[in-house]
């Protein structure tokens, strides 16, 4: 279907990277970052997500934040595939520091070293950090 913005900037595909560095609850950054990611999917850009530092907790399985009055938006990460956002990277070191493995995460990700993440970041046109 044709959305109003789709007629503009035909063919301009840039590499967008969203870096998520904060725990899912405690501040709103993770939730509002996810909202930007979902919108960016409508622009047919080349989107990557990075989860680093406490940001790796955003992808942790079995979140149950109802008792602090929050909606469990971690399930939304599983909708990303349907939005064609499929490049999800996590920082290996951040995972290890927190005793997490890929089995603890609710979506498929690629684990990268700091150096590999740095190289990937260098390839980007737009890096937004949350």
């Amino acid at each position: 279907m044709s959305e109003p913005w789709e007629d503009e900037e035909e063919g301009a595909i840039k590499k967008f990277m969203f870096i998520n560095r904060k725990a899912p609850y405690g501040t709103i950054y993770a939730l509002e970052s996810l909202e930007v990611v979902l919108i960016s999917a409508a622009f047919d850009q080349d989107v990557s997500l990075v989860f680093s530092d406490d940001g790796v907790f955003q992808l942790k399985k079995d979140q149950d934040p109802e008792s602090i009055g929050m909606k469990n938006f971690s399930r939304t990460y599983r909708a990303l595939e349907g939005y064609d956002v499929e490049k999800l990277y996590v920082d290996k070191e951040s995972m290890e520091e927190r005793g997490l493995t890929e089995d603890d995460l609710l979506v498929d990700v690629e684990m990268l070293s700091k150096e590999e993440l740095g190289n990937l970041m260098n390839e980007q046109d737009v890096v937004l950090s949350f």
């Binding site: 909202e35 979902l38 939304t76 349907g82 939005y83």
Partner: protein, 110 residues
Amino acid sequence: MPIEVNGKTLETDEEGYLADLNDWEPAVAEVMAKLEDCELTDEHWEIINYLREYYEEYQIAPAVRVLTKAVGKKMGKDKGNSKYLYGLFPYGPGKQACKYAGLPKPTGCV
């Protein structure tokens, strides 16, 4: 403007979305549709139910094109297009169908 559903008075906002999503029941959709001169058919319900399942699973209302793609995959190509969805929900599947389905109001965020 509050709406009357099965003898209960339910709060809605300026645009007719439920104030409390827990108030939703199928009769809510029927009442909302009637207010907009829309008769709900099985085809409408197929979409409304899918939206509710999607929201339950992912905690968001899908973008229209995500919905379109998913409907096509699940219910067949003849339904997975915007013409079909806008035919059922002329005010837009994102707004109208989500309202009937008792999903949060879209922020208008594009």
